[in-house]
Structure formats: C-alpha cells, structure tokens
C-alpha cells in the first residue's frame, strides 16, 4: 500500500483546502460504513483520508428560526433518531435513514455518506427528495446549494465539483397538515438493499392535497423526483383515481435494471404499489400534524 495520510480538520476551510489540494486522491470520512469497506476490498485507495467529524457544521443538527432543520452531513442515524423534534416534523426522512443497516451501522452511518455514495438504492435519498431537501456544499470557490435531486449523477457518481464537500442538508419548515413517509421493498424483512424505494411528502388542507413531492429510488441510474406523481396528487382528496394516476406516473418514471433482486417488470409494478402505500401513511401523519 502507498503512503496514506489521515487528517481530522476542525474547520470546513481546512477540510476543503486539504481535499482540493489532494486533487482527487483524497476521500472524505464521515461514518466510514461505506468507505472502510471499499478500502478493505481495494475499491478505494485514498492517499489522504479527511475525517469531517471534528467540524461543528457537519456534525450538528440546527433548527432554523422558520421551523426547518439543517442536518450536518456526518450526523449519524442514531443521533438523528434521538433528536426531540426532527422525527415529529420529518418522520419519513428519519425512518428512511434509520432503515440503513444494523444498530452498529446506525451508530456511524450518515445521510451525507448515503447521498455521496451515489447508490440509486440509497434509502435516505428518496425521502430527502420528497422532503424538498437542499444540500449545502463548500468547495474551493465557496459555498453553493442545490436541490438534493440534482446531486446524484449516476451509480456511484455525484455532481460535486472537484474539491467540493457536502456540508449539510436543509429541510424546509413544515406547514400545518404535513406528513411524510418512506417505504421500500426488499427481498428479506430487514437490512437489505432496496429493490424499490418511495418517499412521499404531503400537505393537506381540509382533506385536499395542497402540496406533494415524490422521490423514487432503485429504479433508475439515480434517485428520481417524480413531478407527474405529485401533480396527480395535488388538488385531489386522495381519491382512488388520483392515487392510480400517481402510481401510474411512478411506474412510468422507472428505468430499472434486471438483477437478482428484482426484474424490470417487478420493479415497475412495485413502484406504483409502494407509492399508494406511502401516500396513505403520509396522509395519516399529515392528519395528526
């Protein structure tokens, strides 16, 4: 093995400086539940490992004055689960993150790592897309933001610019009558990779959907925002016709692969089924908020 370096900067500027200086030979370490496995298999051979867990911004959960949340990219699933208000405002986002791996993995794994890993099947991503999360990035040219759905570029690839680091996610304030949910289909009962994952976020007023977003995972090279499904739900009272139209929009959006976990036909069908089930859960939660 070639010379390898580990650094744990305490500021973002230092981290970005080191990352940019390494010119592609560095990897960011958050929870390490993907990176260390990749290093062990030889799939990743970083010259420098930049641990971002000593940086306040990447490891904290802030509540915005408007009622939103800013979640550091390296905050573990276990820490998120213990937050007193995050799970009330965004139960779907939280359940999606908490589905990833075992108790031990939850002690380390982060939403930031899940997104940067670039897997089309990353469980937290469809829920973040449905939530309308915005990612906050910092690179050699300063800060910028992008909608989370614009972040993945393909399996294992992201739209981070060279030297740029994912700092945090901003979740918007929650209007009254809002709820979200995430469901996935896996071949076993727990701890597996999604065959299909669906995130839904709804806002209802007097039973009518006034806002909706749908994120769809594991059925295309990247996680998808399905605007046609949201359009089918908005303005409806979640009648069967609206649900069928939204389910059909999800199925139509799928461009899946055939693999041992699921065939193309199966994934397309299940995308619609999960959409309807996730809408039901999100609507029920919206009724309580």
């Amino acid at each position: 093995m070639t010379e390898i370096r580990y650094i744990a900067p305490t500021t973002l500027d230092e981290a970005v400086g080191a990352y940019a200086a390494a010119a592609g030979a560095a990897r960011i370490l958050a929870g390490g539940t993907d990176l260390l496995v990749q290093m062990r298999s030889g799939a990743a051979q970083p010259g420098t490992i930049i641990d971002i867990k000593k940086i306040a911004e990447t490891t904290s959960i802030q509540e915005t004055p408007e009622g939103g949340f800013v979640i550091g990219a390296a905050v573990s699933g276990a820490v998120l689960a213990e937050h007193p208000r995050l799970g009330q405002a965004w139960p779907g986002v939280l359940e999606a993150i908490n589905l990833i791996g075992s108790t031990q993995v939850q002690g380390r794994a982060s939403a930031g790592g899940n997104l940067c890993n670039g897997s089309p099947a990353g469980d937290s991503v469809p829920a973040m897309v449905a939530a309308g999360a915005v990612v906050n990035l910092q690179g050699p040219n300063g800060r910028r933001t992008m909608p989370v759905e614009a972040f993945p570029a393909g399996p294992g690839r992201t739209n981070l610019a060279p030297g740029e680091i994912l700092v945090s996610f901003t979740l918007p304030p929650r209007p009254k009558g809002s709820g979200d949910a995430y469901l996935r289909m896996i071949p076993r009962t727990e701890m597996d990779i999604a065959v299909v994952g669906v995130g839904v976020s709804l806002t209802l007023e007097n039973g009518t959907v006034t806002a909706a977003r749908v994120g769809l995972g594991a059925v295309a090279p990247t996680v998808l925002l399905v605007e046609d499904a949201a359009k089918a739900l908005i303005g409806s009272k979640l009648e069967d016709a609206a649900l069928e139209a939204a389910a059909a929009a999800c199925s139509a959006a799928c461009k899946p692969i055939n693999d041992k976990r699921g065939t193309i036909a199966y994934r397309i069908k299940v995308a619609g089924v999960l959409l309807k089930r996730a809408v039901a859960i999100a609507a029920e939660r919206a009724g309580r908020n």
């Binding site: 093995m1 010379e3 390898i4 370096r5 580990y6 744990a8 370490l29 929870g31 390490g32 539940t33 260390l36 496995v37 290093m39 062990r40 490992i49 641990d51 867990k53 573990s76 276990a78 791996g101 075992s102 108790t103 031990q104 993995v105 002690g107 380390r108 727990e190 701890m191």
Partner: protein, 160 residues
C-alpha cells in the same frame, strides 16, 4: 510509513498507541493493545462480532479507523465484568447456555448491554431488532434473546 500517536481512553483507563493511518480500531485492539475479546467476523460491518462502545454508542470497530480513537472513550468486552464479578448479562448467558462457539458472544453482550442501558424493558421484537446486526451461526438466536429478556427482568427486579 509515519506512525500516528493516538491518546484515548479504553475501559476507563488512559491509553496511548502508535498506528498506521489506515489501521482499523479492531486491528489495534486485537494487536498492539492485546484486547482480543472483539472478534473479526466479516470486516464489513455485517456480523457485529467486533462491536465496541465509542463515546457511549455501539459501533463496529472494524469500520472505525484507529486514529479516530483520539480523545474518545472506548469500551470493550474486557471492561464488562467487575474483576471476578460478571455482568448480569454474562452470568445469564452462561446459565441459559446462550452461546456455543463464542465468536459472536462478546459483540452480542456489548450490544445487549447497550440496549438494556437505553431500554430496561424491551419487548422480544425490540431485542431481535436491536441485535439484528449481531450474527450467530450456532444458537439460532433463541437462547440469546431469551437470556437478554431474562436478564432485563432480573435487573428491573434488582432495581426496585
């Protein structure tokens, strides 16, 4: 290769060691530190045999770099018994034969203790979910789950 000097706390005692930047915490524990209780089952975070506590949180030591231990508090299975006095979970695992080959046992015990510290009265489902990241190829899990439930009941009784 330049070694890194790491200062940490293991089972309540100050500890320091030299490591390579890419060494896993599990490698350090089992190697230079001579704490061989944590086992390497898979090396990929699937089996939980290497479970330790890092600042009070259950993690796989195979998925942690040794330099990450700097300034942290680490607890391993070696710190579970108080001298000759076994932790109630350890005692109950013996009484109820909740282990066979023993490879998974240190990780199962660390995970079970972490559960009971958070939730002294778990349901069977909660125990099974919490321990889902600890693979055992001998017992079929039933005796493990029963021993954890029984220990929880005893510890609740003792706390009254």
């Amino acid at each position: 290769m330049a070694k890194m000097h790491v200062t940490t706390t293991i089972n309540g005692e100050p500890e320091e060691f030299l490591c390579d930047p890419h060494d896993s915490m599990l490698d350090m524990l089992r190697g230079a530190l001579g704490l061989t209780g944590a086992k390497e089952g898979c090396g990929t975070g699937d089996c939980g045999a290497c479970s330790i506590m890092l600042d009070g949180r259950l993690v796989c030591s195979c998925l942690m770099l040794a330099p990450e231990a700097e300034g942290k508090k680490i607890d391993t299975i070696e710190g579970m018994a108080r001298g000759e006095t076994l932790h109630p979970l350890q005692q109950k695992f013996l009484e109820m034969a909740a282990l066979q080959c023993g490879i998974c046992t240190p990780g199962v015990l660390m995970a079970s203790r972490a559960l009971l510290e958070r939730n002294p009265d778990p349901t069977e489902s909660e125990v099974r979910f919490w321990l889902a990241g600890n693979l055992c190829r001998c017992t079929g899990y039933d005796k493990i789950v029963r021993a954890v439930m029984e220990t929880a009941a005893e510890m609740r009784g003792a706390a009254r």
